[in-house]
Amino acid sequence: MLIYLQMIESEEDRALFEQLYLEYRQLMFYTAKRILHNDQDAEDAVHQAFLSLIENLNKLSDIKCPKTRAFCVVIVENKAIDILRSKKYISQEEFQEATCGIEIPLPGGNGLADALAKIPARYREALLLHFYVGYTTHEMEKQLGLTRSAVLKLMWRAKLALREQLEKDGTIE
């Protein structure tokens, strides 16, 4: 229960979200459109992404750092895929297996990284959010709009997919 009245506002709090928006809205639109091929759907994805970003705004301190940029791309890709899924009327699980995100060039020289770049976008996003951007599974619940068990299941499936990709690539037996 929370109720209060307080004078506002902090310029820096507001500025953070504003900066994030101004800095990345074009890139996010570009990313979403690569998946959705439609302006209106891409705008919807950007809007949905900002709705998610607002949940963990306090995690972001440096707007221009690569991790923030990657974070915005990953989140908008995730939202774009949600929109695509909703239009194709297929289940979440079926869709998780589909590779339908943006294409990422193979980093090369690291079999695990190459495999990670190849696995379905849903799994890649989860692993990038956790291991690159540094989000906890709890924070991922809010970002991805999933329950805790769904996030844990997603992470586990992502690791399975990665292992399978390593086997397919011949990196492991």
């Binding site: 004078m7 506002i8 709090d13 507001r14 928006y21 900002f50 060039p105 291991f131 292992r163």
Partner: protein, 238 residues
Amino acid sequence: MKSKNDFPFSDEDLKEAARLVGESMLASLPTEIEPPHIFSEAFNEKMNKLFAKEKARSTRRRFLRSVAAVLVVILTVSSIWLATDADAWADFRQWIRHVSGFDDIYEFYGPTPSVSLPKYEITWLPEGYVFSFEMDEDKDGESIIARRIAYENPGQDMLFLAYNYMVEGHTAVAASDEQSNCEEVTVAGMEGVLYYNEGHGSNVLVWFDEEAGIAFALQTNLDRALMFQIAESVQPAA
């Protein structure tokens, strides 16, 4: 035999791989989008609503941080960047109220004061409550434009009276949840709003003295009858 949970990579390996993939992904994306996309009006409208939401949320976060410091209030001048929305009710006066989810955002339109905020005091307090401390919460140039006074009883229950000039460009937020009741009221003939939780947590009574150009807020866990009794006892300090 390989277990389902037997992965040939450690979390450290995954961190390094994720870093490489993240960097590769970013390198593959343009740094400038040319030509830039012109966002639709519908999109801009939705984003404006989102900005309004964030504005209220940033206040909530600030509030939670400040609880430990006994409700230190921060007030800064801000321009009205967000477009006003259709939820606004009230004829033009020195304040306007927007409803945003469970949050009410008050924007003020009063003139810049030429003198410092006068002192007010509560002249009737429930038994046991005594003055605790007072803070001039900010200054706009040379003039004090907001003040908060705290009272406390032996059980360490706090009661706050906050008041501020309704200076154009300043805003205030009353945030609550679905269990809070919101009711339009009058306090000593002045318009106000009561945010009330039936016996659960903090209640807030706000009212607006148009003549003095001052907005008041009383925050306490006491019941509504006592709140009105306290609010109606607020007077310029002798």
